[in-house]
Structure formats: C-alpha cells, structure tokens
Amino acid sequence: MSTRIIPWVEKYRPKRIDEVIGNPEAKKAFVAWLNKWMRGTPSKKALLMYGPPGIGKTSLVYAAAAQYDLELIEANASDVRTSQAIRRRIFRAVTETSLFGKRGKIILLDEVDGISPKEDRGGLQTILELIRISRFPVVLTANDPWDPKLRPLRDQCQLVEFRKIGKRDIIKVLQNICKNEKIECSYQVLSAIADNVRGDLRAAINDLQIISTGKLSISLEDLDILGYRAKQLNMFEVVRQVLTARRPETARMVLSMPSLDYEMLMLWLNENIIYQYWPSIIAIADAYDMLSRADVYLGRIKRKQYWSLLPYVLELMTVGVSSARERPPFKFVKYKFPEKLRMLSRSRNKRERMNSIIRSISKNLHMSSRKILTEVIPYLKIIGDENPSMLRKILKSMNISERSFREIFLTNA
C-alpha cells in the first residue's frame, strides 16, 4: 500500500479548472480575468483570492496553470521580502519570458495576510512593486483580506471571494476517493467528517486519509482518533452541564477540562441562557447578571493583565450562572451557535465599506468616526429618505459615491 504515502490532497488535486469543486462564481471571475490576460493586460494586473483555508484557492491556480499551459511561479509571500537573492529571482521571473517553452507564466503569492507590518516593513511595498512590473498574471491569496494593513494591496487587486465548500460537495469528493482507494465507508461516516471540518475540503481529505490508514473499511468509532472532533461536540455538553446543573459543583466541573475555551463558552452561554431558562424572567435576569459580572472581570484582565482575576471569571460564569433563582424544571434544549459570531462574519464586508465611507466623511467634517456614525449619519439618512437630490449634493461635495452610501446606509438588511 505504498500509494498511501502520497498525501491524498496532492494525489487528488484537480488537474483541470472544471474539476475544482465549489465556488462557481469565483471560478468564473477568475477565468474571465485570466482570459483578459491572454488577450493583453487587464486593468487589474493582480487578483486577490480570499476566503477560509482549504477551499480550493491554490488548487484553482494549479489547475489553471496546467490547463492554460503556464509556468507556475510560486512564492510564499515571505520569500518575496526576505533575502535580496530570492527577491531578485522572483523579480526576474516576472519580467522575463518562460524558459520551458510554455505559453507564459502565472505568479502565485500565497497567504499575503501573514505579513506582519512590524517585522516585514517593506514587504507590502515589495509585493506592490512586483505587481507593477509584472508582465504576467499575479494571483494572491489571503484568509482575511480586510485587515487594514492590506488596504493598498486591495486597491491594486481584483477581489474574488471564495466560500466554504458545501457539505454535499465534500461528501461527494470523499466518496470518489473511497471508491478509488477501494475503501468501504458508510455515508454516515463521511457525513460526520464533513460536518466536523465545516467547509474545509482539504481538512476533510486529510481526515479521511488519517482514519483509513491501514484499513479497508471504516466505521464511526474510527473517527475517535480525530481528537479535535470532540471539542465541537463538547461545547453543547458544556453549556448543558452549566445551565442545568443542580449543584454548584456540577457546574464547576467543566472548569477541569484541559482545553476549555472560556471566552467561547461565554458566547455560547450568552446565546443560550434565554432558551434554557425561558419563561422564567427572574432566572434569565439572574443568569445574565452573573455572566455580565464575569465579563467585567474579563475586561479588567484584558485591559490591565490582572490575571489573578481569572478564577472569578470562571466561577461566575459557571457556578454563578447556574445559581439563578426560579429556574424552570429541566428541559431538553437544542442549543444554538453564537449568533454574534455569525453576524460579525456575515457583516464584515459591509462594516469595512461602512468604515471607509465614515472615514471619508470624517476627513471633511473634523469629527471622529464615532461621532460621524452617531451624530451625522442619522441626519443623512433622513435627508436621503426625504430628499434624494439634497443627499446627492451633499455626498458629491464630499466626494463620496452615492451608490455605496445608499447600499450601506439606506437599504435595510
């Protein structure tokens, strides 16, 4: 079984663009951009692919290079800025034609958001210069493109968003691999793997390879070796143990878990107190009050590094929360994932655009962003609702695009 030594993520890496799973729109945008390059130089010479890890950003570039017969010049973003020699090599590569009789080249700079503004001063400048002089398409990837330090880069790049891969797509890929590797594996197992990786296809393939090593068939029990799988499941149990504890010691027991992420637990409690203690308003108010006190201590720790306060945070959020008065009798509640995290990640793009508009207004009005948001935007909204031409005039005088303003502030999400 020597074939198993090759990582499956390499073995099953797509060879053609249409074999890349998921993200049809991102693929279309990328191919359109690449096709522009085949006919000349597009207005944006670089393209920034962004999205969570393991969803096919790099694979798409590999597949495109193969299909378009391009030489792939791959540089880790840190290579570009480290030694002069490496820099020179890459700078030469992007200006000279290919040596291998290929039709051209494509440059891939992975993980540009890993650049640290302090240690890699000039790193971004180097990348910007590389884009400027390159005669070939430059593709950058990042997990988090909204980092303020990447702003100059964003301006130079066409942005293409990649999303998590759907569960069904992941299962399909895993099924194919199983077939190919002649492994017997139930749908249940594959579905559990897919649930666990939450959209990260690479992680799913890696997990499948790990649990099937030396086996011809795999069952649900085999999944236990994926240690981190337990964490996600446990959060539900931890929440349940705290909220339904009959005695303080029971609630306290969750603190003995070695890997308890207490800040995450706070968010989960914040989400689920109402569901568990409904309809007792007293219980809800008591539990929230304790959680809020725990949060106050956490704030002091964060601001002043008073780590000696940590025990109070932990005890108030467990023993404190569970000691709410007039708790309703036990009932089984299906807990929800913290909506706050979901909303924050969903509205990230919008908030970034909102902040950029607010900053432009702030420059014009000698006021802080905070004040613009609370003391100017509300009036602009009224004006926009009642008298569009007045709003147009105001925005124009501050050089702000009316369309983005309307999209961000005047449509109700």
């Binding site: 706070m266 914040n270 109402i274 905070r370 948001l373 609702d385 009642e386 105001i394």
Partner: protein
C-alpha cells in the same frame, strides 16, 4: 467646492466670523497678533465652537497655508498613544512652512484618552514644545490629568444662548432659501440643548422633509434620528419578549455598527425623555436609570458589550414583570 452639509458649509473660517464665545475669541485674536501662544485646552459641551475656534485660530495665524501647518488628530479614532506619539513625532520634526516658528497640533476628544496615554502625551508635549503647540479639545476638563491642565491655558466654552442659536439658524435658512416658522425654530432649540451642531443638522434634515420648517417637520425629523430599533428593543424587553429584544440589539450593533456605549446612551435618552416608558411612576423611572447607569459602567469595564446589554434588557424585563 464647499461641503454641502450645512454644519460644515457655515462653519466660520476666521475668528472674525465667530460671533459667540466672545471673550475667548478676543483672547485668541491677541495670540494671533502676538504670533505666539501657549498650549491650549478647550473645554465645553458639544456644539459650542471648540473645534471651530481651533481651526479659525490656525487659519488666522498661518493665513492661506494654514492646512500645511496643523496636524488634526482625534483621540477616539487614533487608537493607542503609540500611534498618536509617532504621528506627532513625525510631524513636529519638520520645520514650519511659515514665519511662525511652531506648528499646531489639534487633538480632538482628548478626554477619551486613558490616564496612561495622557501621561505619555504630557511627555510628548514637553519634548516638542519648541516646534509645536497643542490645542487639546475635550467635553470634560476633569477628565484631563492635572499635569496637562497645568501646562495649558484653559478656555471654557459655554452653551450657546438661545437667541444666538436661533439667529444663526435663521441666517442659514435665509441663505439656503428655506422658510422657517417661529415654532419650528423653538422646537429645534428645545431639542438641541445649546448644541449648535445638532441644531443645524436638525434644521437641514427638517428642510429635507417639507417645504417649510415648522414644529411638525422638526418633530418628524427628530423622531427619525433615533433608529426605530431602539424603541422596538425597549418595548420588546418591557413585554418580556427577550428574544426579539436581543434581535433588535444585534441589528443595532452589528448592522448599524453602534458600540455598546452608543446603545446604552440611546436607551438612557429614552428613559429620560419618557418617549418609550410612558405610564411609569417616578420610582420605577429612577430604578431604570440606575440599571442603565450600571450597564454603562459595566460596558466600560467589561469585555463584551453584547453580554452587558443583554443583561440590561433582562433586568428591564424583570422590573416590568414584577409590576404587572
């Protein structure tokens, strides 16, 4: 092209144009005559002309090139003293572009800096006092540490008198060809609490609503200034519907982008004005005030604004569940 938002369009450009804060303005004019000034601290409520006075002073001092000789910083935008310090350092190092031997650094909302940051600022002020003068602007002088206060000439800006606000509103309305009625002006003044910026913004938004700015259009505008979600959130909490109260809260925070303190201030305003809490006795209102104040304190001290506000909403629900 001038900015078409009236607060900016009608901001005085020179000290000569400033009609209010007469004594302060006269002193500032003396500084301009002497071509010299100490560090300044402008203290006073919002919308009383502090930033305007600083900008006018810069304008009169440096003439046409005033923009090249000032650095405007906002303590609540520039996170961290390190950023402020490095920007000031960078700026103060270069030679002024005029006959005045120093540049001006305007630090707005200085009372939002922590004590530590102010200590660091004090050293920075000393270090660059030869090439730069500071104008610190704050709502509350007491939030500025003593050592900084003692290095500054302090000017206290007073809330603008009613006649002046109304006069200014009338002047702007005339320039903009907007008809205003007496009761309209009264209504704007009542809500503005001496804050000219708020008054002018209200005037402009009311003028967008109707041909004539009267009490009716003014109240319509004012009713829309507070996001509807605030009242809906409070009403839901009062009814004990904590899930929908939380939904509204999240929409205010994550969709509108308001901070926890912003939201708590809006709730505070609703408690005080009695718009949301009609039909409660004075004791209940005082209880609510205490809860809101406690939540405000905990937000400032705590780490997660949403947890604190959910706790407040639950306590409001509790107050009202006991009443019924």
């Amino acid at each position: 092209m001038s900015i078409e938002l009236w607060v900016e369009k009608y901001r005085p450009q020179s000290l000569d144009d400033m009609v209010d804060q007469e004594e302060i303005v006269n002193r500032l004019k003396e500084f301009v005559r002497d071509k010299n000034l100490p560090h300044l601290l402008f203290v006073g409520p919002p919308g009383t002309g502090k930033t305007t006075a600083a900008l006018c002073l810069a304008h009169d001092l440096y003439g046409e090139v005033w923009r090249d000789n000032i650095l405007e910083l906002n303590a609540s935008d520039e996170r961290g003293i390190d950023i402020i310090r490095s920007r000031i350092k960078e700026y103060a190092r270069t030679v002024p572009l005029s006959e005045i031997p120093f540049k001006l650094i305007i630090l707005d909302e200085a009372d939002n800096m922590t004590g530590d940051a102010q200590q660091a600022l004090r050293r920075t002020m000393e270090l660059y006092s030869r090439t730069a003068r500071f104008i610190l602007i704050a709502n509350y002088g007491s939030k500025i540490i003593e050592p900084i206060q003692s290095r500054c000439a302090i000017f206290r800006f007073q809330p603008l008198p009613k006649e002046h606000i109304i006069e200014r509103l009338r002047y702007i309305a005339e320039k903009e060809n907007v008809r205003v009625t007496e009761d309209g002006l009264e209504a704007i003044y009542e809500e503005s609490e001496g804050d000219l910026r708020k008054a002018i913004n209200t005037l402009q938004s009311a003028s967008a609503i109707g041909e004539v700015v009267n009490a009716d259009t003014v109240y319509k505008a004012l009713g829309k200034v507070t996001p509807g979600e605030v009242r809906e959130m409070i009403e839901a909490a009062v009814k004990g519907d904590l899930l929908s109260a939380r939904d509204k809260l999240r929409s205010l925070m994550y969709s509108y982008g308001l901070s926890g303190v912003d939201v708590v201030k809006l709730i505070h305003r609703e408690v005080i004005s009695g718009r949301s809490f009609t039909d409660i006795d004075n004791y209940t209102r005082a209880t609510l005030l205490d809860l809101v104040g406690e939540a405000n304190y905990r937000i400032v001290e705590g780490a997660d604004d949403e947890i604190q506000l959910n706790a407040l909403l639950a306590k409001i629900a509790l107050v009202f569940s006991k009443r019924s």
